[in-house]
Symmetry: D2
Subunit: 407 residues, 4 copies
Amino acid sequence: MPAPVLLTDEQRTRMHDLYRQLHEHPELSMQEHRTAALVQAELEQCGIDTFSCGGTGVVGVLRNGEGPVVAFRADIDALPIKEDTGLPFASTATGTLADGTEVPVMHGCGHDAHAAALLTAARLLAGAKDRWAGTIVFIFQPGEETGAGARAMVEDGLWEKAPKPEVVFGQHVMPGLAGTVQYVHGHPMTQADSWKVTLHGRQSHGSQPQDSIDPIVLGAHIITRIQTIVSREVDPRRSAVVTVGTFHGGLKENIIPSSAEFTLNVRAFDESVRDTVLGALRRIIKAEADASNAPEPTIEVLSSFPPNLNDRQATDDVVKALRQELGEASVIEGEPVMASEDFGHLVEPICVPSVFWFFGGHPAETLAAERIPVNHSPLFAPVMEPTLSTGARAAVAAILSKVGLER
Amino acid sequence: MPAPVLLTDEQRTRMHDLYRQLHEHPELSMQEHRTAALVQAELEQCGIDTFSCGGTGVVGVLRNGEGPVVAFRADIDALPIKEDTGLPFASTATGTLADGTEVPVMHGCGHDAHAAALLTAARLLAGAKDRWAGTIVFIFQPGEETGAGARAMVEDGLWEKAPKPEVVFGQHVMPGLAGTVQYVHGHPMTQADSWKVTLHGRQSHGSQPQDSIDPIVLGAHIITRIQTIVSREVDPRRSAVVTVGTFHGGLKENIIPSSAEFTLNVRAFDESVRDTVLGALRRIIKAEADASNAPEPTIEVLSSFPPNLNDRQATDDVVKALRQELGEASVIEGEPVMASEDFGHLVEPICVPSVFWFFGGHPAETLAAERIPVNHSPLFAPVMEPTLSTGARAAVAAILSKVGLER
Amino acid sequence: MPAPVLLTDEQRTRMHDLYRQLHEHPELSMQEHRTAALVQAELEQCGIDTFSCGGTGVVGVLRNGEGPVVAFRADIDALPIKEDTGLPFASTATGTLADGTEVPVMHGCGHDAHAAALLTAARLLAGAKDRWAGTIVFIFQPGEETGAGARAMVEDGLWEKAPKPEVVFGQHVMPGLAGTVQYVHGHPMTQADSWKVTLHGRQSHGSQPQDSIDPIVLGAHIITRIQTIVSREVDPRRSAVVTVGTFHGGLKENIIPSSAEFTLNVRAFDESVRDTVLGALRRIIKAEADASNAPEPTIEVLSSFPPNLNDRQATDDVVKALRQELGEASVIEGEPVMASEDFGHLVEPICVPSVFWFFGGHPAETLAAERIPVNHSPLFAPVMEPTLSTGARAAVAAILSKVGLER
Amino acid sequence: MPAPVLLTDEQRTRMHDLYRQLHEHPELSMQEHRTAALVQAELEQCGIDTFSCGGTGVVGVLRNGEGPVVAFRADIDALPIKEDTGLPFASTATGTLADGTEVPVMHGCGHDAHAAALLTAARLLAGAKDRWAGTIVFIFQPGEETGAGARAMVEDGLWEKAPKPEVVFGQHVMPGLAGTVQYVHGHPMTQADSWKVTLHGRQSHGSQPQDSIDPIVLGAHIITRIQTIVSREVDPRRSAVVTVGTFHGGLKENIIPSSAEFTLNVRAFDESVRDTVLGALRRIIKAEADASNAPEPTIEVLSSFPPNLNDRQATDDVVKALRQELGEASVIEGEPVMASEDFGHLVEPICVPSVFWFFGGHPAETLAAERIPVNHSPLFAPVMEPTLSTGARAAVAAILSKVGLER
């Protein structure tokens, strides 16, 4: 087991500065130009080779002789949310959505903490080359929120440009006690697929239903019927959710419209459960349209977040290292969360183990409150300490568990 | 317009005797041997040629020189009901169902009244040959209740053996003021189709729905979905009913069964509405099975009652004759009823006009009561008079409207 | 029976001019200022006393000695539709909706024909005072399309200001052979009620349905369940429609929204059927919310069109007069239509008989086409003749059937 | 850690004899008279004090000086199944159900293996009193299959008559590799609740749905609606099943019946999930009846199986002991099963930790086959060895982990 690489007060102060800069200047997915420049400058200053990848992604490669290759990923994009934290360094930034709308932007999911912690870990490891041997790949990924960034980096040749690692790590700040890490065996997060479904009916006056194919009644029956997927087609010991988040059809109460549309979101941990659910959805949507004598509905895939599976052995190794670094009591076996991530898209093409864990961002007194501002809330504001230090130390410990030199 | 043929007290007494005999000895559908013998003897005694047709059916042909041919039909079968009227001539008869069960039998639908009235009309017309010219075909049909009798007579060559009429008449006793006749233009009664539908699923333990195809959930969705046929696919100005009368599946609360079955009954006046409904049923049953990933359900036709359509002109002629015979106020335009009849099966193959009307069997004081014992009730008991006389006089008047000689 | 009052070529030409003016300058409901001025001027020119009523409504009272009082109503408002008929006098007018939107306006429902015909009838009757005696009330009603106009006139004291008639007539141009009139006994049109229903749920992330009350799933079950009202709760021989014309809820596929809303439209001929349907709707909406553990949904009444019932005797009288005027073959017993009218609101407060009929606006060759532009189509364009003459002659004949002097 | 208590060949042969006797003479729940006599004789012969409890239950108390008290439970009843294993000692026994029916009886769930293994463990421990100190309570429980037996023993004063243990153990033979044990942390099995629900409608002829309250349509909507409990009201990370195993209503396709009934079965691991599901069921059943304007349905509880929760520390202790006895590779962390047990009813009233595990009964070659005869199959036949020895050794090892003397 390698000796600890210590986070000095100076480094902690530097990390806080980075965090405040990142937090104050959030950028929308795939538009992280300022953030990328800051990341690249910081890595270069530490003597780490960098290259851009997938547009606004930045990769740092820190070589230190013979040894294993390990990769660590932090995501760097922010959200179209109007910050309401009242922090002195709160964001007043705006960004432009695909449709041209200008919107307020906020680091409402804590990616600023991910980036600040990984930059700090990079600096620490670059300054402690006597303690480890091998190569570390630091991946600063854009566009996690839209599910586009990891794929963009892979398509831009990430794994041709960077050495292929033996393991990939990632972490996410979450509601939980600041200073602690939560891990799970198996899937820490779900896959997620979103569809838009357009139902094709036939318009008629509301008094003449016999001349119509009523897309609202069709939609009602589809939504009713797809409840049976989770209730009847999935092993009760497996998790799955099908949510129809929107339904829109019709302009006037006495006109049966010619079409209606709804969007849905599917989540599951297991690939086989996901396949079962998506297959059943297609089957039911088609069959219910048949029952209405309607044309086959149009299904458009809006997004697809990949599986995220913690390797058993790699997880045990990381947990051991984290416990050594942070103390037994601070590394807790948690529950998987139903949220999703595109981290898996980075790992999938190289077929190596990965480990993804959570670190808490809330002090005990906040957790005691009834309602904690969670990720994506305009009030989401992890306390800087011990949150950031825990993130940085966890990153260093995990990386050293692979490339560290025994004393 | 022919002069009235009068119903004498003697004939009325004879009719009451016939009625009491028929009522006391009811026979199940297609087993009306005693009834057929009585009918045949009575017709023969009046000098009317008879032949058996369709098993227990009897046809009388009364020829009287050149002139139109007219047919009148009465049905003669009874029901598996235990009579509870308390009449002195109440039935204590029993019969044997197809499956061998012995059951009580009762004239619970008034076919005894139909037969007694038509036999009396036959006797009157046979005794008044100077008042009319032509041929009258008296049809005493078995098996109306099961929808089998009319078809059996036609298949046994009814219209080859009897002269083809220009018009066919029929009548039915119903709740309504005794002494009155109710007629409608258009369809007096509905068509009716009955199906048995078997749903094929896959059995599994109740705790493992993912291994099953749940036929009870499938059945629930079919029953839910077919409500849209009447609500969305039929012109609201047209009548249609789809009733699922039975649903049976499963033996144990924690076993998902391998199959389930339901029976349904469809009624409509218009042939096109019937076609719409039956087509939609097949479509929905198939599509919902698809939605469940189940094999196509098996549909078995249990029975099919034909349309029954009153010819416009023939109805007007009959109504005029009935008003002359019974008085203006006693012949009322009524509403069609949702019940069904196989009368149409007799008429359909010869494509001639037909008229079917109702005559009331209840005194005013009974009608004022909240709940009248209707057809098929164990308490159904039309008062003999003026019910039977009205039936006999209506039959005579209708027949004479076609074959009567002007004074 | 009074002698016919003849429509001369000169009057026909004048009527066509009026029609073209009205058609070219359509006005939205309750904004019929130009139309009202034209109507008023025309009536005054004929020597008929007028007064404004219900905002843009105009009433003409033509007194001619002792005799019965009879009223005839024409509606005068137009629709927010962009005309696409290509007529030389097609509308290019615009109007302003309640929300301030400027929209194109078109006489897409034929109220211009109603007004032109009734103005012509008024002129004819004012010029033929020797042929009749009594009082004729000509009602030019605004705002029929929104269901507001008849009520506005009544609330403005119509029946205090005008003499109370013994009967009220009205007519509507419809797809059908130009030159013919269609009438029905009973209800020519349906009642109609429109509601907006707001479902109150509880928002949560799509991956955490257990924290939500899902208003989209609730809406789907309500829409599914209300199909049983028409299929199970209404006598199949009665007409009823429940159409959910709109359903809207949710902004994002992975957020369960906090509310959703739908609008519905109910039609029925009979008041008791309407009561049954509206009662069942309230019951089901409430119960399904209970099933979802949701608060009681909010129901807002958008509009309510009254019953419209043709008096039996008055209808027979009108039909006789119309047949005499237009010929037997041109006055046809038709079917009731599922559309609605606020004509009933005029009649209801004075409890007198009324008769409402339809007159055709299409030549035979148009009717032979597969798709006829019906009322409310941007292509709706009745042929001027014989449509308008039939409307004017029908109005005169109906009025004279009540006030005309026998020769 | 105590020295192993060895299972000699002689004891193994004796165990096989016991097993064959038990297997050949299975008895229905709460009628295990012959089995109880055999168990009691065997325990007494080992010098263990016994008493009857809960009818056909037998308790053995083996005291051996000061020390902890530990309890081990085996269930002893069989099932109404016709054995089809072809074993030389296959059952030909019959039994009498509550309704008087005589049925074939079979040890189709392996309780014979449980009893033979525990009797053997008792003999081994009674013969090795120098290796342990304290008190062992051997519980041979009747009526597990019906959920009645554990409750009967408790109500008969089990924990007043026997010393209160510090921990209660139990085990069940299951499909799995013979020679191995599977354990889980948390709930090894589900709770289970079964209900019978009677829907009260109003009968009418199928052609007059407006006079009915249709209980089949009501049932269909309830079954459809309760799918949302699992899909929307339960945390997707928790397990729950609601199965409607039977639905029965109606006698004739054209009669809407006056009532219908269905039975359902609910399973969940967590008490809070069970409470959520049962509460939602009551709410939905009531609300859907309201939606149908029907009286509140009648709910009858058919059975209720309790939770079964493995204590964390006690499980770790048992697993350690089993690994020592059977080898690391033979003690596997498995998955919870959706089946249910009344073991929890024994433990609940004394609020002490319990551990319940599974032992495999199938050789490797059987497991490779596509379809293994599982518990409750007429073909269920665990191989005697190493199944029984594993069961006996696991029981001894678990008990000694608590009362054994360190060497």
